[in-house]
């Protein structure tokens, strides 16, 4: 029946530490590169890069691109591409800006500041994004126009639909609740951040335990207990460390004073308040978990990867690959709309050039994160890490004072280099 590791071991050399933990080497490599990058910038800037404040800023700057990158993974895995995400973000942002400042308060007469406004706006924005995405998917899947062309057209069209709708004006200020999704304007504070962190920790540990129990039930080989322990410790350290860092960033005194005065109070002596986890980061975490579940544990996800690995096989297995394409692009559209919420809320207004060049950042994030353009391979956490690496590189260079053109040259070179390393790694491990 089951073949335990002991039976096989004479033929195999002893497993290394990393193999026993069953960690993804590729992921470790990326984390290592990221760590070197961060430490390098920290040294060059004299300790200004790895401060709670800068880490906080990095996370909120990454969210918008990272959210879209999770969707781009599915698009690229199925051998398509979406060049229109930045433009689609702009259209969704314009639609939502108009909805919350013009349509709902004035035309429908809810009045500014009505509690329903942000929620109706967000739902409507996601609906618009989903529909536009589904339309792209229909053109690609059913009318068999290459995705490159459909979304290249989309890039021009949606960028300018957004412009046309707002007549090119910057629209703001946005609804105060809506702006809580932007980052610094909406954070959990210290206490709730710890609560969120502990909940995440509990969920992660339960996940480890349930997976082990299930494997044992079927009689499959499992990791030694000490390896599970090390893994659990690593996860706990990462989650709690992350919360601790974000909680270490305190609201500046001047701002606290202003907030207190706004409520007619005076700031007590020695009072401090931490920002904690931004709501936008929490949103990204939920999306990342949801998308990972979708990729690994649902039929839809299985079909996405099957169709990416071998489209003919997927079709012959009875998978409706055309409808699948529509679903993938619709999901991409929905994620663009969610990114539009975060991006416009962070800027506190909708501006004409919002999301410009985001398509390149999103594709680069997915590709640096190990999504293979040939299809079939890619992970959600890789894409998010890719987005984080890109953003760190960009803000690190800005902090060091690298000239703007040089920054872009470096980012471009890093993208090409990352793909080269990936190709060499795959060739070496024989995984195509």
């Amino acid at each position: 029946m089951t073949h335990s590791e002991a039976e096989l071991s004479p033929a195999h050399p002893k497993k290394s530490f990393v193999q026993t933990l069953e960690l993804d080497l590729r992921l470790l490599g990326m984390i290592g590169a990221f760590a070197i990058l961060c430490i390098g910038f920290d040294l060059v800037t004299g300790g200004r890069f790895l401060t709670p404040r800068n880490i906080f800023n990095l996370t909120i700057q990454t969210v918008s691109v990272a959210i879209m990158a999770t969707g781009m993974v599915f698009v690229i895995v199925t051998r398509h591409i979406d060049l229109s995400v930045g433009a689609l973000l702009a259209t969704c942002s314009a639609v939502m800006a108009m909805t919350q400042t013009e349509i709902l308060p004035n035309m429908l007469g809810l009045g500014l500041g009505h509690p329903l406004i942000p929620w109706v706006t967000i739902v409507f924005g996601i609906l618009v994004g989903t529909l536009i995405g589904a339309f792209h998917g229909w053109l690609v899947g059913y009318l068999t126009i290459p995705a490159f062309i459909v979304t290249l057209g989309g890039l021009l069209i949606w960028r300018n639909v957004g412009w046309y709708m707002t007549s090119g004006k910057t629209i703001g200020p946005l609804d105060p609740t809506f702006m809580k999704f932007g980052g610094i304007n909406g954070t959990l504070g210290a206490t709730w951040s710890w609560v969120a962190g502990l909940l995440a920790l509990a969920a992660a540990l339960y996940g480890l335990w349930a997976s082990r129990k299930n494997k044992l039930r079927h009689g499959f080989p499992v990791k030694p207990l000490w390896a599970e322990g090390v893994l659990a410790a690593l996860i706990s350290g990462a989650i709690l460390g992350f919360v601790a860092i974000l909680n270490a960033y305190e609201v500046p005194l001047a701002r606290l004073k202003r907030d207190f005065e706004a409520q007619g109070l005076t700031l007590p002596e020695g009072y401090t308040e931490a920002y904690g986890i931004p709501i936008s980061v929490l949103l990204l975490i939920f999306i990342a978990v949801g998308m990972t579940m979708l990729a690994r544990r649902t039929r839809l996800g299985r079909y996405i990867f099957a169709a990416g690995g071998n489209p003919d096989a997927a079709e012959l297995s009875g998978i409706n690959t055309r409808l699948l394409t529509v679903k993938i692009f619709a999901l991409m559209g929905a994620l663009c709309a969610i990114s539009a919420v975060v991006a416009s809320a962070r800027l506190t207004n909708h501006s004409n050039d919002i999301g410009t060049l985001d398509e390149l950042r999103v594709i680069a994030a997915a590709v640096i994160g190990g999504t293979a353009l040939a299809g079939g391979f890619g992970t959600i956490h890789g894409a998010i890490l890719g987005a984080l690496i890109m953003q760190s590189l960009q803000s690190g260079m800005a902090m060091v004072g690298v000239d703007a053109p040089l920054q872009n040259i470096v980012v471009g070179a890093v993208l090409v280099l990352a793909v080269l390393i990936d190709i060499l790694y795959r060739r070496k491990t024989g995984a195509r």
């Binding site: 579940m293 649902t298 039929r299 990867f305 071998n310 079709e315 012959l316 297995s317 009875g318």
Partner: protein, 255 residues
């Protein structure tokens, strides 16, 4: 001996399909009885794979009729074919190289948990069971099938076809990529499936395979059916004559 007095398991009548003016399959009729193996012979491009892809739902015929157990069947796509318990082992194997054996075996028919999530562990357990029967040497359950040898990949494709209670099995060149030992395993499997009353269409261009494994052989040339013969009543040369010259051996009547 095959009992051909009852209703055929499959009847394909007067099937036509053309691609851009080329008659790939031109008024072809074949049938298949339970527990029977019918070989489809012909050169490359004779239309045998095309004919069979109509039955498996990969192509839609232009005209003609398919009857399963005497009842008219509507097969428009691979999902329809699967509903009629028609399973196919394609020449290309039709495996998603980036997925592991279990994911390929259950592709399109995943086992799910009560919450509707795919149950990978249950699928792996089932895959281990059927592989223990089909190919006991198979061990690479957690690797993508791109890491498997030709024979191992073939056994995944075969496992997929036989796992889901096929009644009609289509094998397109099942032994083309196999060594002698594995070819023998396929031959044994075919005997086993025949005994269970499964009907098998075996596409091959190897006459010896057909002579050894099949009960009847239908020969195609240039999209048309040359004829169908009882394998016991013909020689290798008769079959060769049919394949190369399109010549029907005189006394044999259409089956």
């Amino acid at each position: 001996m095959i009992d051909r007095t009852g209703t055929p398991l499959v009847e394909m009548r007067d099937i036509c399909i053309s691609f851009g003016g080329v008659h790939a399959v031109d008024h072809v009729s074949v049938n298949l009885y339970p527990g029977e193996v019918v070989g489809l012979l012909g050169h490359n491009g004779a239309g045998k794979s095309t004919l069979i892809k109509i039955l498996s739902g990969a192509y839609r015929m232009d005209s003609g009729e398919i009857r399963i157990n005497g009842e008219r069947a509507e097969i428009h796509n691979p999902r329809d074919a699967r509903r009629y318990n028609i399973e196919t082992i394609y020449q290309t194997l039709a495996l998603a190289d980036n997925l592991d054996a279990a994911s390929n075996l259950f592709l399109g028919r995943e086992l799910v948990t009560p919450f509707g999530l795919v149950d990978d562990d249950a699928m792996e357990a089932e895959t281990r069971k059927i592989m223990a029967r089909l190919n006991p040497n198979f061990k690479k359950f957690n690797e993508p099938v791109s890491a498997l040898s030709g024979g191992q990949r073939q056994s995944v494709a075969i496992a997929r076809a036989v796992y889901f209670d096929a009644r009609i099995l289509i094998m397109d060149e099942p032994t083309a990529a196999l060594g002698p030992h594995e070819t023998q395993m396929v031959a044994e499997l075919i005997e086993q499936l025949k005994a269970q009353g499964i009907g098998i269409f075996l596409i091959s261009h190897d006459i010896h395979d057909v002579m050894k494994l099949c009960d009847r052989a239908s020969v195609m040339k240039n999209g048309q059916l040359v004829g169908t013969v009882d394998v016991d009543k013909v020689t290798d040369d008769d079959l060769l004559g049919m394949i190369i010259l399109g010549k029907h051996p005189g006394e044999q009547a259409e089956a």
